[in-house]
Amino acid sequence: MEEKLKIKLPVFEGPLDLLLHLIDKNKVNIYDIPIALITDQYMAYLDEMKKADLNIMSEFLVMASTLLAVKAKMLLPRKQVSDTEGEEELDPRAELVQQLLEYKMYKCFAEKLRENQNMAEEIFYKEPTIPDAVAAYEVPVHPEELVKDITLEKLNLIFQDVLKRQKNRLDPIRSRFGSIKKEEVSLEEKTRNLLHFAAEHRRFSFRSILESAKTKTEVIVTFLAVLELMKTGQISAKQEETFGEIEIVSRVAA
């Protein structure tokens, strides 16, 4: 008996598919769905499915509530036509039947398409094979065609626009700096090196440490490093006479 639980449920593409299956199975007319019976069977299937796959349940549940609503309407005593003057009362199932029929029609078309597909499969097509001479050809561009609807007036407007944008873009002060280059020598690095040098040599001339500098920038950075270390009191500098040799004295221990 336990094995029965393992029976694989038939797969339905959706609630309508399942409904059609039930209608077929019960051999009933689509226009005269025994709604109570079908609803019960539908719910029974849902119950089985609940154990199988919860992911696809939601859409089936929407249909279940529709079925229950229709079922409820069918159970209610029919309104008498007398008070609604000849207006024919709609069968509560009508909308559902309409939907089922439309769905069934597309399922029918789908089958036809499948047959078509099987037949069409026996035809082969070909990938493009462009001859080299054709592939190598470059289509010439005609300047007249390029310019076409562009007038000199338009070109003038474009130029004015370009100038306006340039003005907005340029910061009047910074733009005068010319080019900005990456520092060749960083002050931090130079200061560190100088400190290291000063720790090893107690006294040395300012000139001697400039001699190793390769560029003007490096000379300036070295000078800045000296000033920096003087400020922090790690070195001191003295000059005996104007334009004389500048001697640097280290105050850091080796």
């Binding site: 593409e13 959706g14 609630p15 309508l16 598919d17 299956h21 209608i23 077929d24 199975k25 051999k27 009933v28 007319n29 689509i30 226009y31 859409e59 929407v62 249909m63 939907q99 029929l101 439309e102 769905y103 069934k104 029609m105 597309y106 399922k107 029918c108 078309f109 789908a110 036809k112 398409l113 499948r114 078509n116 597909q117 037949m119 069409a120 499969e121 026996e122 035809i123 082969f124 097509y125 070909k126 990938e127 493009p128 094979t129 462009i130 001859p131 054709v134």
Partner: protein, 189 residues
């Protein structure tokens, strides 16, 4: 340009390109009228057919394409690889038939007919190049409209959309009756 020349050019073009080539594109390239192209291509197509050739020329909507004759399928299959044969599941086929017969159609409309979300199915069909976006509906949210592609026509051996049974009210009515009959008569599924 003489007819014979047009035929020659159309034949060479269809062979080289492999894919379907638009009639107006050929007309522009050859500097002739579209009718000249159609007449030449149809003549070629008939010659191929009546001479029992291994290749054929078929027309799709507004284009022509060269392909092989069905007769030689059994030989071809031993040499040529059939390009990715997409096995369409029932879901995809169902969705495709709705797009084919109702196009242009929104995902929401497909969903309403199938009763289930069809997002995944439509996306898959677009991926398989059987369905494509064809515009947007002039409605709130401007939802995307979908239609079938030329690849669809090829894959299903349909020359044009008018080859599909049309959905005139009369036919819908007929179908309803048929459905009714089927539902009441069908003995087994």
């Amino acid at each position: 340009m003489e007819k014979q020349q047009i035929k020659q050019a159309v034949e060479g073009i269809l062979f080289t390109m492999g894919k379907a080539v638009e009639i107006d594109q050929m007309a522009r390239a050859l500097e002739v009228e579209e009718e000249d192209i159609i007449s030449a291509a149809d003549e070629l197509s008939n010659e191929y057919q009546s001479n029992g050739r291994g290749i054929r020329i078929v027309r799709f909507e507004s284009s022509y394409q060269m392909c092989t004759s069905k007769d030689i399928y059994s030989y071809l299959i031993r040499i040529a690889k059939q390009p990715k044969k997409v096995a369409l599941t029932d879901v995809l086929l169902e969705t495709l038939s709705i797009v084919a017969y109702r196009q242009p159609v929104t995902k929401a409309a497909i969903e309403k007919i199938r009763g289930v979300s069809s997002d995944h199915a439509v996306n898959k069909l677009v991926e398989y190049e059987l369905v494509e976006e064809v515009g947007r509906m002039d409605a709130p949210g401007r939802p995307m409209l979908f239609g079938t592609t030329e690849q669809f026509l090829r894959s299903f051996g349909v020359k044009s959309l008018s080859d599909l049974p049309s959905l005139s009210p009369v036919q819908v009515e007929e179908f309803k009756e048929e459905a009714e009959r089927e539902a009441s008569l069908e003995v087994d599924v």
